[in-house]
Symmetry: C2
DNA sequence: ATATATCCGACTGTTTTAGTAGGATATAAT
DNA sequence: ATTATATCCTACTAAAACAGTCGGATATAT
């Protein structure tokens, strides 16, 4: 039960972008350098963040990524959705899967509960929290 | 971010065992039939549960698995440990990995928090809850 | 024109996963 | 004792997922 590298790197990348000068933004190149992630791999990651509408830039020579809204208005859940279609800790919980084992499988509501706990946490934490390194598990 | 089939099946198997007659127990064969899991695959799963000390049986012709203590004294966390060495949503959180990116990675406390949220949930839910199909995510 | 930087799809080696196979061992029944 | 049953336990394999690279197209500033 691990998160994929893309998701992890994606989080680091958007924090880097959020910390950049709001006007100039930051280049892939510099995110790559600062975070120690190959520029080609980062390419895909940044692209996903852009497709999700979380960051913006101009194309061409004088680019530079910026977040599209305040860091406090971007949740980790939204960032996560840039890299995964949904949160579903087991396939049965996926939108497009139907569970046909209700009678014999007594674990579904446990998994549903776990899924919800994760979603709640993801909705609670914002990009602003990440930037500030706020401690979140003390609750 | 999915749980492995072994863990899922393992949970279903131990619920089946917990529901069995406390004296006679239940055979692999019957768990297999009831849960629709191949007997050979189940073999490994039941074995893991036994190694973890959660179930017991006698070997040989007249076997039958039983849980070793009350269902209310077995947490999902303990069951999970039968199939995974630890709960660590990213490698950095693993016992035997040291994170060397504190300076550049601003996401570690987020992941630590998530990990803790999951561990707390796993500690809260017992085998008894699973057996009763108790609804747990309403909190 | 040219240099820079993003865009975007295809590809590949590695690792993980799910599940099978086969035989060893222990016990109950005959 | 022998046989049937059931677990124990290791090894193996096909398929899927993953991490990361590569190449080239496109857009823009100078």
């Amino acid at each position: 039960m691990k998160f994929r590298t893309k998701t992890r790197y994606g989080m680091r990348a958007i924090v880097e972008i959020a910390k950049a000068d709001r006007k100039k933004g930051i280049l892939q190149k510099d995110i790559s350098k600062n975070q120690g992630i190959s520029i080609k791999y980062l390419d895909q990651i940044v692209h996903a963040l852009k497709e999700a509408g979380l960051i913006e830039n101009v194309k061409g020579k004088k680019s530079g990524y910026r977040i599209t809204r305040n860091a406090s208005d971007i949740t980790v859940h939204q960032i996560h959705l840039a890299f995964e279609p949904e949160i579903a800790v087991i396939d049965c919980l996926s939108k497009d899967v139907e569970c046909r084992l209700e009678d014999v499988c007594h674990t579904i509501s446990f998994w549903t509960g776990l899924n919800q706990v994760i979603i709640n946490y993801f909705n609670e934490v914002t990009l602003q929290d990440l930037m500030e390194g706020r401690n979140l598990h003390s609750q």
